[in-house]
């Protein structure tokens, strides 16, 4: 029961972060939304594992998500810096 409520809340959080990522408007908003989305997805997987009854198999995936989400976010930020993806089109001259 409680697991169901928590899973639902996380799913709603995923949805809200996704909507923010879709709307943008700028690159930074999308990056922030994606990072938040990753964390909520990871938690959602863990909770789903408990609901499914064999959480041990699912927890490894969650560790993986945490690691990969960190690495891809560092890569995204490096890319913003290195590639100069700082402005947005409407603000460019």
């Amino acid at each position: 029961m409680i697991l169901g409520i928590v899973a639902g809340a996380l799913l709603a959080g995923m949805g809200m972060a996704l909507i923010r990522a879709l709307r943008g408007p700028g690159a930074f908003e999308r990056v922030l939304a994606a990072s938040s989305f990753n964390i909520k997805t990871l938690l959602f997987i863990t909770v789903i594992g408990f609901v499914a009854g064999s959480p041990v198999d699912y927890v490894d995936i969650s560790i993986m998500y945490a690691v990969i989400s960190f690495i891809s976010m560092v890569a995204v930020l490096r890319c913003i810096e290195h590639g100069g993806f700082t402005g947005d089109r409407d603000k460019e001259p």
């Binding site: 700028g26 990072s35 863990t46 909770v47």
Partner: protein
């Protein structure tokens, strides 16, 4: 219902509430710098509470240890990401949002 179950349930529900609050903030606040305020803090706290709740539910097993490992990784990485994003915004975006500029699209 044992005391541990109640504690784990309360922790998880509180965590879910924090995550929801942060998500609403992410959705409603106008720009990345303000959204970091909502998401950076509540995500770490909500994640911590939910994982603690799950770990109590799992009992003293290897599973609880793995959950605490996830918690340790997230406590290290989530604030780092938020900080790096906020720093990048403050460095590269010349005009932060000011009061009265209207709401998020």
């Amino acid at each position: 219902m044992s005391i541990l179950e109640v504690v784990s349930g309360v922790l998880m529900l509180a965590g879910a509430l924090f995550v929801l609050t942060g998500s609403v903030g992410l959705l409603r606040l106008p720009d990345a710098l303000t959204q970091v305020h909502a998401v950076g803090i509540t995500d770490t706290l909500g994640v911590g509470l939910i994982i603690l709740g799950l770990a109590i539910r799992a009992g003293p097993t290897l599973l609880a240890l793995k959950l605490l490992l996830i918690l340790a990784i997230l406590v290290l990485t989530t604030p780092t990401t938020s900080h790096a994003i906020a720093r990048a915004v403050s460095r590269y975006r010349s005009r932060p949002w000011k009061d009265g500029q209207g709401r998020a699209p």
